[in-house]
Symmetry: C2
Subunit: 559 residues, 2 copies
Amino acid sequence: MKNLSPLQIERLKYQPKLPSSLAEGITRLVCKEGSDTESVANQNEIKQLFKNTYGKPTVTFSTSSDLQTFEQKNVGVILSGGQAPGGHNVIAGLYDALKQANPDNKLYGFLGGPAGIIEGEYVEFNDEYINDYRNTGGFDIIGSGRTKLETEEQFKKSLAVCQKLNISAVVIIGGDDSNTNAALLAEWFAANNSGIQVIGCPKTIDGDLKNEQIEISFGFDTATKTYGELIGNIQRDANSAKKYWHFIKIMGRSASHVALEAALQTQPNITLISEEVEAKKMSLASIIDYMTDIIVKRSENKKNFGIAVIPEGLIEFIPEMGAMIANLNDIMSTLEKDGNYSAASQSEKFSIIENTLSSDNSKVFSSLPALIKSQLLMDRDPHGNVQVSRIETEKLLISMIEEKLALLKSEGKYTGKFSAQSHFFGYEGRCAFPSNFDADYCYSLGYNAFALISFGLTGYLSSVRNLTAPASEWIAGGVPLTMMMNMERRHGEMKPVIKKALVELNGAVFKQLEANRQDWAMNDKYLFPGAIQYFGPGSVCDITTRTLQLEQSKKLLNV
Amino acid sequence: MKNLSPLQIERLKYQPKLPSSLAEGITRLVCKEGSDTESVANQNEIKQLFKNTYGKPTVTFSTSSDLQTFEQKNVGVILSGGQAPGGHNVIAGLYDALKQANPDNKLYGFLGGPAGIIEGEYVEFNDEYINDYRNTGGFDIIGSGRTKLETEEQFKKSLAVCQKLNISAVVIIGGDDSNTNAALLAEWFAANNSGIQVIGCPKTIDGDLKNEQIEISFGFDTATKTYGELIGNIQRDANSAKKYWHFIKIMGRSASHVALEAALQTQPNITLISEEVEAKKMSLASIIDYMTDIIVKRSENKKNFGIAVIPEGLIEFIPEMGAMIANLNDIMSTLEKDGNYSAASQSEKFSIIENTLSSDNSKVFSSLPALIKSQLLMDRDPHGNVQVSRIETEKLLISMIEEKLALLKSEGKYTGKFSAQSHFFGYEGRCAFPSNFDADYCYSLGYNAFALISFGLTGYLSSVRNLTAPASEWIAGGVPLTMMMNMERRHGEMKPVIKKALVELNGAVFKQLEANRQDWAMNDKYLFPGAIQYFGPGSVCDITTRTLQLEQSKKLLNV
């Protein structure tokens, strides 16, 4: 008998909901083509790079009374990049559709991310294997990895592995970069007449893989609800003890979607949005002024407590910090090969860096607390860049606010008490049990991916839309990956990539924060979302994010 | 219309369960006296100090067919100390019983903790006020505070406030210290013929207020489940990405009950227990050896990831650290008044301290990373002691393990990769929506507190036992506070205090960890508890902690 938690035992029994167009079964589908598509920008370049897969129509599925039969087919699946709740359900949906189409079909899972298809490391799924992972969090079913799938050599190796296993379609579950890779692989397979299809699925808790065709990436719903739970709990604590300011940094990479959604769920006193900081060219000093002003005003109302929500990527969006970090990335690759630097003590390293950076950037660097300086010099990421997520921006802000408040106090402009606690939430939410929404959405995405395969499509992203309606009314179909692409500079070269979505400052979601934040800053309008519920009333268990609700209702108004 | 989260709206409707002895209503109770009691130790001293309240019998309630009537009565209630989920339900249960007894009864809530009764800051509850807080987390209904209630002057002020409001009973909801204060106040009120009763309620997420009479303090269930959720989510992430060691420090003050319970819920690779460290006189070096050994062995099995759970109070239980911190507490009170010290830079402060500490302690201090040194010198607590909870023990361990692994690598004894993430969970769990268990238990404790009042008792702790059985079978009654007391040295003086419960190394709970930890260290037996559920199957929603289950089943075996 396996050792499972009580919730896990119950969640294994949950049957995810499908759109009604898919619910009749894979054998009843008809595929309707929309009009031909163009990429969002750089149409000529993209068309040139994707000769075989560019310009295809969008498709949607509906149900027919005719019964289809399917030839035997083997499919491979890859989990790529960071974890997001619901990945296991994508695989379960794909498996169920594939076995429904033909019980002799086989589903292979490549191990450890894209490396698995290159190295030929895989498992074959069966009912028992899959059933242990239904409606669970994590990517541990086959593991994940961050290997990029983009070179000719990698494509050739992948082809050989697929041919060995007689695989005629590959499903890549990943974010914008992984789906860019899916598009490249699809094109290469097509150009080489391999007969192997490639389908992508939109994954990322960061919420930055969305556009006109993709309403939301999976995992965003569950992750933001988990962070909302924690922020809400801390707000209740702050409002009870009335003695701490809590500075809460939230994962989400460059974009602030996650912080914004978590803030709409909880209504904290301060929410910083990286995209706004960049657009308004806010310096670190002006951010400190903005925050300190609220802290002082609350203190005048006898509120020496509060909550500030900070997006993970903030620091890079502060103009002078972004410039300094870019300069630092440049000089570090040389410095790290320098024996004198490597042998230097920490404070000597700081001096070397201050002498190597340009004058403006040197001033910015030297103004930072030692803790932050040392974090800037920690291990680089695989691209040789500062690992921004490891910089404790929340502590940087606290220490600068402390200095500023001390100054105000000496000038008689502040008489309060400022005591701060810092938090960083990220890993807590990436592998939570998927919410009912993510469980249903992911299962549908996986099921739908096989539908796309069964109609012979390649270079498509599995698409399920109309997500604020009940699952039965969701619209299942596919979008050509090239449709979402444009050309961007990466490592000095122009490359075709799927365009990342940042927070739109004139969008309905940010406007909601903007319209309310002054009120939330001074008058405690804290909301307490509590833990994700799986079994209770629909009003609690089946609602999706504020982000999606606002984006969709805005669309309705514009129609 | 108030702005509430969907869960909050639904939870307000939840009707907490009562023991069947209380469920017939306050008008149907009979009070059965047990035998007279003695304090757990120092009987003569405690008897001397509590002449009027010592030696009273325990009581239990049952139901009679006779209907009682009640004279009008006003009661005051205080929330004392750190937040714990369910405090609002104690007040709701107390309010409901009080209004059931006589609709003209009044319940006053003292604001901001014990300071409220001293300063005469209060609110009067009514249905509307109470209904907004049913089954919610936090202590924000009236706020809490840490003022100690122990001087003659405080007692006199409290008496005057109670007399002004015609209050004839006070309920103090708090931990061991607050209930010690409740005993002192009860005795003083009795000695001064005030006619005012005092009843305590056992609160603390730390779980260290328990004994033969009190199975568990409220809040422990919800808080540990919240931490269990987060540890489980991080374990799933670690097991998916397979690249980080997560070091997770868990709140709980001195005792390791919370870390131990969270570990039993999640089965991490490493769990440190402060009480074991102290009993075995484990040095910091030997703890590092123990952890490094597991990290190296896992690495040999290609597992460069894992989870370590660390109790908040660990550092004080490491013999040489405890001694150094005690020495530091002594010298700092003098140093902080010294202008030379105050004006010194951080590194100068370190030198001054190293020259002032005794030789052994100086060595320990100087061996620590600068980050930890500076945390040791931060603001003291109200008793002038180092705030142990603000020391990032998790980072100290990581940095010392990194050093040790570098050494082993240089000796060819380690070839793995160690990349660590640190977390501290505490505030996230103290104000969660109470679990069904805590919602029921707290409501029962509050209801039962009024039952004790209605029978004219004072100096009692509200007691609800048999808690692993369904709520209908719980046993409601009262325990004299003096029964749980002994004499302990506090600030150089012997004082009567309620004895704190630490983890018993020969108890069933620790034995469960001990019997399994080698297996959990190497073979990933992670459990994923997921978020607290309020509406689902009883197997998920209504079970209480492993700690209580193990303690109670052991008792059954011993009978």
